[in-house]
Subunit: 185 residues, 2 copies
DNA sequence: GCGTGTGAAAACCTTCACAGCT
DNA sequence: AGCTGTGAAGGTTTTCACACGC
């Protein structure tokens, strides 16, 4: 409650946007409601995650716990370095990026993850878009251009450090609550 | 401009909170203004970044471009695995976590980065707090407790994927602009 | 003329408070 | 009695529009 910096009224109003699932005098059926929230968030179907760039970051992401519990599956791994092709990471073979179009083209609801150097990021991005990926998560410090039909999201280490620096410099400013994963059942 | 989803009035009002640095009829002295923004964000001094957990993620972070250009310096690296101690990453030796208090205690304005497994995250966090770190950036999927004087920020791969899934499921919702690094001069 | 700084208006979001159902 | 759903009040943020300095 104080973690969200919200009160009961706000929670009720927010939930009311999903539909009217509460029972006056009794409360909410939590597991039913959670299912509705998952549906609304698009988490009721499986997403295929494709990682491009099998350096340290790509390895870390491929092995991430995320794939153990959530509705996200690691579907394919790519790199451009011939020395890495064929290596198995988290049970999947690393393929050459030139196979990306072929392999990813046949996957629906695929999310591309860019873990390449910044210099290669736009090229990787183009290949992912071309292959029909619906969303891209970019860890490279580069600004990417995508068509409006593709959702793009950036994660940037230096942004996170800068945000922390700001709040340390201004302790009087209350940080806004961060997004938290929907994990429970 | 459309990247920020803002208009001229908002930019002017925002800048006016820093002070009145514009010249009517002429505009802003961009490099002076940028300096003021950097000062306000706390980026006018150096920050010492301490990374704990030298797995794939820790390696990737230690080698990150962030340390080449920004006012953030990689100050020390730690791990608990004796096999990794002494290894050099990005010009720094990997030290054992039991040295953390000693090494980090002497550093001012230090930011701790947790790149350990989730199971170790709270322990690492406690050591960092104990050593006087002013801010912590946590990459482990764990919810951490810190005293209110320490700024805490989470980066979670599964949150990012969930956010993307939501926007793909709801193309009619315009994503809110993401934080971007202050990089230019 | 041009572009900033800023009160006032408008839009938006949060909180209150209560009617109504269990 | 207890808890939801929701209009209305209250508060905050964004936009407008214009006075004033270059």
């Amino acid at each position: 409650m104080q973690r969200l910096r919200a009160n009961a009224a706000k929670v009720r109003k927010d939930l009311s946007h999903l539909g009217t699932y509460g029972t006056p005098g009794t409360g909410y059926d939590v597991s039913f409601l959670l299912g509705q929230v998952r549906r609304e968030l698009g988490l009721d179907r499986e997403w295929q995650v494709v990682i491009v760039g099998m350096g340290n970051l790509g390895h870390a992401l491929a092995r991430s716990q995320t794939f153990a519990t959530q509705n996200f599956r690691a579907a394919a791994l790519f790199d451009i370095d011939p020395g890495k092709i064929g290596e198995e990471v988290a049970g999947l073979p690393v393929r050459h990026v030139c196979e990306l179009a072929k392999v990813v083209g046949g996957i629906s609801r695929s999310i591309g993850v860019i873990a390449s150097p910044a210099s290669a990021a736009q090229d990787v991005c183009n290949r992912l878009v071309e292959a029909g990926t619906v969303a891209i998560l970019n860890f490279a410090p580069a600004i990417l251009a995508v068509p409006p039909s593709v959702q793009l999201r950036q994660v940037d280490f230096s942004v996170e450090l800068q945000v922390l620096a700001f709040y340390v410099a201004h302790p009087e400013v209350t940080p806004e609550p961060q997004d938290a994963p929907l994990s429970g059942l």
